[in-house]
Symmetry: C2
Subunit: 137 residues, 2 copies
DNA sequence: TATTGACTCTATAGTTACTATAGACTTTAA
DNA sequence: TTAAAGTCTATAGTAACTATAGAGTCAATA
């Protein structure tokens, strides 16, 4: 089965531009073109793109995915490389969660400081933001 | 006290380029320039920049901060506008936390699937990533 | 067969919040 | 006076796309 980019986009739920972007980033290439220079894809390409999408859904960067794909393409390399990348990625995600959790607390404290229909002149939130500012100083 | 951009950068722990960037984005402007066209700042500018930095530490976007500043500059507007923005921002942060928490679970499941020194040919992680792909299909 | 509409092509600009650089000018201290 | 440090504007780069323009291709209808 040979398909053009539009159909690949539908099958993979991925925009046409994203697919072309992945090609530019060397993650996926249409090995052949039609007479009129249209990209043509086969089953293996579909699977490769779904692999990419799955990795993206795990927030892996295109660079990381490129590494995984090349490891996948050369089966003699060490599994540990994959492990290490995933490990680092987990750490990064956990750091970000911790940051956002703290942020969430601060925002909620801020929200509590103003709840009524007052003019900004007396808005607790703005007062808090300004107070924190002068404390910093 | 009148200072130049370098000193403002030091006081506020903000890069010189960031300050110029905030000016371009109309968050902060040097009202006066020296004879040699250097930006000159006063105490009010320092406070305004610290306010901006505090908002940035809460992950508010420059657009949101611009709104807050203009509300702050026109004290007759409604406090509710501020509330609403903070509310939306909290929701956004909480959505992102939920996403990342799910992501973290998936990554840890993935990690469990390969732990030994095998070649990639038998790497559980890559197998898992590929499996998920074919399931999607 | 000609034409229309849908699809595809490349190349470029925009998004966000900056950082980094180049090349020129200004200020300050020795 | 001169050298170093600071500043100026303008531009390009970051990540992972999205959006657009202008031109070419393909399939089906009139």
């Amino acid at each position: 089965m040979i398909i053009k980019i539009g159909e690949l986009a539908k099958i993979s739920d991925c925009s046409v531009q994203s697919i072309r972007h992945y090609e530019k980033e060397q993650l996926l290439s249409a090995k052949i073109r039609s007479d009129g220079n249209f990209r043509l894809y086969d089953q293996a390409d579909i699977e490769r793109l779904l692999f990419i999408k799955h990795c993206r859904s795990l927030d892996l960067s295109l660079g990381e995915i490129r590494q995984l794909l090349s490891l996948n393409d050369s089966p003699m390399s060490q599994c540990d490389d994959v492990n290490q990348m995933i490990e680092q990625h987990i750490e990064q995600v956990e750091r970000r969660i911790a940051e956002l959790t703290l942020l969430n607390k601060q925002l909620k404290a801020l929200r509590r400081s103003c709840t009524s229909k007052r003019t900004v002149e007396h808005c607790g939130i703005l007062k808090q933001l300004n107070k924190a500012v002068s404390q910093n100083n």
